[in-house]
């Protein structure tokens, strides 16, 4: 995961947020809004063009592409969501503990994060998936671990800065416990930054998980997943039917760009204001 270098125009942020909301709604309401069963095979209707019955056409097995796209939003969003929640929780927990206790504990955590940081996330996830089996859980767990140092490093720096602010010292002088100060004051003040990190990480996790699915190490057919749809559509591209790969790829790109734009806006909104 690399730092974001985009400049999102302020007016693009609400549009991006709306796109994120729409994709999330699509995932939540999939059973009610999908026009067909995403798994229903209809070989006689394979590679059907855009029509009223199949607005985005069908794939090589005659499955409705719109329905698969709608259902695919579920796994495509659930994976990154689990990754950012798991990595955010673990990373922030480690970061705040290291910043709060300092000394040898901080050194230990920092060196452990350095070691974890040395493994590129995608490579780690692919290796773990190859070793422990394909599916949804294995790549998500591996990617969560890979994202921990990315989030923890940023959060540790912020926690260090926050920990040394006079209001934290005032709370210590008031006799509040470390746990109380961390849970009631430090963490809530770090929450906006964590939100930004999560939103940035979400986009990258989505690309990584789509890549893992594309390589055949994530979800397996007949699951409806955008990365898998891109992979499954590959042979059809050569046959002159690029819809499946193209539609899924566009969905991934739009969603990632939208989340990244929202993250960029959040970073501008919350960045560095400690007063």
């Amino acid at each position: 995961m690399k730092p974001i270098m985009l400049r999102t125009p302020p007016r693009a942020a609400p549009v991006a947020a709306a796109v994120c909301g729409l994709v999330a709604l699509m995932a939540l309401l999939a059973p009610w809004i999908a026009p067909h069963d995403p798994f229903a095979v209809d070989p006689l209707n394979a590679y059907a063009p855009f029509s009223g019955t199949h607005p985005l056409g069908t794939d090589d097995l005659g499955r409705d592409l719109l329905s698969r796209l709608v259902y695919g939003a579920r796994t495509s969003l659930a994976g990154p969501l689990v990754v950012v929640i798991a990595a955010g929780t673990l990373g922030t927990g480690l970061a705040v503990s290291a910043a709060w206790f300092g000394g040898w504990f901080d050194n230990l955590v920092s060196r452990a994060l350095d070691v974890l940081f040395a493994f590129p996330g995608l490579v780690l996830a692919i290796t773990v998936a190859a070793l422990f089996g394909t599916g949804f859980v294995t790549p998500v767990v591996a990617l969560s671990l890979a994202f921990v140092p990315v989030i923890a490093r940023v959060m540790r720096a912020a926690a260090m800065r926050e920990r040394n602010l006079p209001y934290i010292e005032a709370l210590r002088v008031q006799g509040f416990s470390s746990l109380h100060i961390c849970l009631r004051h430090l963490l809530p003040n770090l929450a906006p930054l964590l939100m930004v990190q999560a939103a940035i990480g979400f986009g990258y996790a989505m690309i990584d998980l789509a890549s893992i699915s594309f390589l055949g190490l994530g979800l397996q057919p007949p699951a409806a997943d955008w990365g898998l749809m891109i992979a499954n559509g590959q042979p059809s591209i050569l046959a002159g039917f690029p819809q499946q790969s193209l539609i899924a790829a566009v969905a991934v790109v739009i969603t990632v760009v939208a989340f990244t734009a929202v993250a960029e806006r959040l970073a501008v909104r919350f960045g560095g204001d400690v007063r």
């Binding site: 006079p166 010292e169 002088v173 003040n189």
Partner: protein, 258 residues
Amino acid sequence: MNTPLLEVRDLRKQFKDFVAVDGVSFTVPAGGSLAVVGESGSGKTTCARIVTGLEKATSGTVLLDGAATLDRRRRASFVQMVFQDPYLSLDRRQTVSDCLGEVLAHHDREMDRRSRAARIDELLDLVGLDRKLGESLPRHLSGGQRQRVAIARALAPNPKLLVLDEAVAALDVSIQAQILNLLVDARAATGVAYLFITHDLSVVRHVCEDVVVMCRGKVVESGLVAEVLEAPAAAYTQRLVASVPRPGWVPSRAVSRG
């Protein structure tokens, strides 16, 4: 003889090779007001931080009401601190009422909501803040108002001793005067004693009776404010007093030199 509220004996604090505080001793009687003055780096803030428990002394003793050790909560209800920067000493997410309410609930768990609200109003009155500001976040307050909130928070547990670490240094002059007057009034109203850390001698005259002058971690002179500042005996104190700007004043290059 009465036990002093605060007794600091032969205090020493070393940061690696640097000795910040070296054999400092002083006392603060109940209801008294002691100023610790000196230029930046003289060790006065380190003393204050040790007294409040934010730092541990390398050696020496700090006795609070005659006791060397107090548990966290008892220490907090005995000694409190007001910090220099009012912009950073309040949690930016917490309203004034929540800030004070949290402290009150922490120190008196049996206090019900109504009593707490009444005590918050009382504290706001004490520091001269409009009660309506209770629902304000720190960013909606001026520097002076924020420092008043910080003082109210420090006074909330009814401490016997209030450590004020350059508490007016970050405020502009007119606000400084208001806060100093507030401190004088608050002391009269509550009987709280002050340990006033400052480099501003005019502030010392306004608020304190006793003064300790520190230079390079050591006490060079101590006594009544009127005596020490009017007729300083130590060469360092003389230079410190001479460095206060006045009509026709020519600044020397450094107070602590030779």
